[in-house]
């Protein structure tokens, strides 16, 4: 187990400035008899540069919470604070400003792209969004090439291609290249590895860690795989039925679980997982 710890920064994040926090954040769908409380009064504090995992089963409210964090849907109750100040995304302009600070990678790379647009358009959008509209064509190409290099893709091979001409792993890496260009304060990764094969999964996780190390962004990693969360994150939030039942440093939560739900999640991890010798997996080489 000790080898795995090298993947995690051994920093105490509690004294770093707050990046995103929530107080009593609640989301209710429907009303009356049909009322469903998807997220139920959750509090959280994500610090700068922290790698946070939110772990829970399907239907525990992870994705609903992520939509609220991204500002794609509004919370029914409670308050979300961005960099210590209450978040204000009332108007389109303010929303666009907010999205310069928070970006996302979604679960399904195949539906993350507009199939009618070439992949360069996605990267060009990012440059324009970062205020690079005035740059020359060469400078833009250089930036895109750099971003593609970061995720081990060759930009020359991608130009003039449509998303459906790429593999799932390539698409997901392109999504990371997009984040590399945007350099947001917070990256919300909603199960980014669940739709790609095991090999690409290690590559993608490695890239997320690199990205965090290089830019110091906060990564909120949403997953149902507690083993993965333990391997990769600094802090773990365990979510059950819309509530955080337990949270804390990854080591504390996973190695000394207190909540019954956490214990169950850990015991549900397939046996084969225990026999993996992760020390032999060299992520750099895989990439």
């Amino acid at each position: 187990m000790s080898e795995m710890e090298k993947a995690r920064a051994q920093t105490d994040f509690s004294d770093k400035p707050l990046c995103l926090s929530g107080r009593g954040v609640t989301k209710v769908f429907g009303f009356g008899d049909k009322k469903t409380v998807a997220v139920d009064h959750v509090d959280f504090d994500f610090h700068e540069g922290e790698f946070v995992s939110i772990v829970g089963e399907s239907g525990s409210g992870k994705t609903t919470l992520s939509k609220m964090l991204l500002g794609l849907s509004n919370q029914t109750e409670g308050e979300i604070l961005f960099q210590g100040k209450p978040r204000d995304i009332g108007t389109g302009r303010k929303k666009r400003e907010y999205w310069k600070g928070i970006q996302a990678i979604f679960q399904d790379p195949f539906s993350s792209f507009n199939t009618f647009q070439k992949v360069d358009a996605v990267l060009l959008d990012c440059i324009n969004m970062r205020g690079g509209k005035h740059l020359s064509k060469q400078e833009k190409t250089d930036m895109m090439t750099e971003a593609c290099n970061f995720v081990n893709l060759k930009f020359a091979e991608l130009t003039n291609k449509y998303p459906f001409e790429l593999s799932g792993g390539q698409m997901q890496r392109l999504m990371i290249a997009r984040i590399f260009l945007l350099k947001p304060k917070i990256l919300l990764a909603d199960e980014p590895t669940s739709m790609v094969d095991a090999c690409s999964r290690a590559t993608i996780l490695d890239m997320l860690l690199n990205l965090r190390d290089e830019t110091g962004m906060t990564v909120i990693f949403i997953t149902h795989d507690i083993g993965l969360a333990y391997y990769i994150s600094d802090t773990v939030y365990i979510m059950e039925h819309g509530k955080f039942v337990e949270f804390g440093k990854a080591d504390e939560v996973i190695l000394e679980p207190k909540a019954a739900y956490t214990k169950r999640l850990i015991s549900d991890v397939p046996k084969i997982h225990e026999e993996w010798d992760l020390s032999t997996v060299d992520l750099k080489q895989d990439a």
């Binding site: 666009r96 993350s112 507009n114 959008d125």
Partner: protein, 415 residues
């Protein structure tokens, strides 16, 4: 895009529909080049001239003749003089006179005439027969007596002193070549009740009707698409309001609405374009509903969310990230709207609420005129049947194209 087009043109249904439609369009473009002029020009006096070739008798009488001795000329002449109605009337007379008609063949002109000479009595007054009918038989008898009575027709003209002077004698063996006759007019579909060339009118009407269909289709699609996109993408109270309006339009039968609007516009205001717009205005609900449901399923897709996160405006997201995904659907809806627009115009015009009648012919107006002048009861099939055929063909070809597209864009329907 290129790939999709290739797929579309590999669908046999689409290609069949497309070929029919293009043939109709080509006819619309090419025919007026050969037969130019106002399609509403009244060339005939009197109603419903039969289809056929019309030779000017005036010119034919002055054309150089050739002599042909054809063996069956006399028989043909007699046969043509007795129409089918005359033959039926003759058999009726024979029956009244108690003649034996058990082995009489009405097509055998010689036998008919022989029997007529035997049985006809100008003084006879069969019981219950009207004077008009008796006079008809007198005229028929005269005509039969004239047959073969004279071998020549003499043409006389007034000379300078105002005295009739024989100028020409026409023998029964004189023929003119139609190429030498100054005026020969072929009317493939005869004339209508106003004496207009039906084919010319039909070609022009097809063009107008397709244009009406296109305008109605564009109006309906634009309204339906805008409402559907807004309701589906923006959602919330805007969705509620738009769906409320849509439901109202859906609940009220659009044809009733169409009749009321066109009626209240009045005859003078109803040009073809106005009628087309009104049709479009009452038929957008289906497009709006289906576009809305498609957009709702699209608006929560990751690529739309990502586009939002990239800071794109509402208009750009709708146009770039949603519209392309429903474009095939919209094209199909548009084709159906064109087809139903043409049918709606035909229905309205048949009721007399179509475009005003003095400017352009439309398929519906032609049917309306044919109906008002009882073409369907007096056997003038050429005044309405070709119109029905064209409407059917247009609607059939458009629906065929639509089914073909549906099979390409909706793989579960592929056979």
């Amino acid at each position: 895009m290129k790939n999709t087009l290739r797929q579309v043109f590999h669908s046999s249904k689409f290609v069949a529909g497309f070929v029919i439609f293009v043939a109709i369009i080509l006819m619309m473009i090419i025919y007026p080049l050969f037969n130019p002029g106002n399609p509403l020009e009244q060339i005939g006096v009197g109603t419903f001239a039969k289809p056929g070739t019309y030779v000017s008798l005036y010119d034919a009488a002055r054309t150089k003749t050739d002599t042909l001795r054809l063996p069956d000329a006399a028989d043909n002449r007699i046969a043509a003089a007795l129409t089918d109605e005359d033959r039926v009337a003759m058999v009726e007379w024979f029956t009244l006179m108690g003649a034996d008609i058990s082995d009489l063949d009405t097509a055998d002109t010689d036998a008919m005439i022989e029997l007529w000479h035997e049985t006809y009595d100008p003084t006879a007054r069969p019981k219950g027969m009207t004077n008009a009918k008796i006079n008809y038989y007198k005229r028929l008898n005269n005509a039969i007596m004239d047959l073969g009575a004279a071998d020549t027709i003499t043409i006389a003209e007034y000379n300078d002193e105002g005295v009739l002077e024989e100028s020409k004698t026409i023998l029964d063996t004189d023929y003119v070549n139609t190429k030498n006759v100054a005026n020969v007019k072929t009317l493939p579909l005869g004339t209508d009740n106003f004496g207009r060339d039906v084919l010319k009118e039909l070609v022009s009407a097809t063009g107008t009707s397709i244009r009406i269909g296109l305008i109605a289709g564009i109006v309906a699609t634009v309204i339906g698409l805008t409402f559907g996109l807004l309701a589906g993408y923006v959602g919330g109270w805007l969705d509620d309001i738009i769906m409320f309006i849509t439901n109202i339009f859906t609940v009220i039968p659009s044809f009733v609405l169409l009749i009321l609007i066109t009626y209240s516009l009045g005859q003078e205001q109803r040009g073809a374009a106005v009628v087309a717009t009104v049709i479009g205005f009452t038929s957008w609900t289906w497009t709006a509903r289906s576009v809305r449901s498609q957009v709702i399923s699209l608006r929560n897709r990751d690529h739309v969310n990502l586009s939002k996160l990239s800071g794109h405006s509402l208009v750009r997201i709708v146009v770039m990230d949603i519209l392309p995904y429903i474009a095939s659907y919209v094209v199909m809806a548009f084709i159906l709207q064109v087809s139903s627009g043409i049918l709606a115009e035909a229905q309205l015009s048949l009721l007399g609420l179509g475009p005003k009648t003095t400017q352009v012919p439309t398929l519906g107006l032609m049917m309306n005129w044919a109906m008002l002048y009882s073409a369907h009861t007096n056997g003038s099939w050429w005044a309405y049947f070709p119109v029905i055929l064209i409407i059917t063909l247009i609607s059939f070809s458009l629906n065929l194209m639509n089914t073909g597209l549906d099979q390409v864009f909706n793989p579960t329907l592929r056979d």
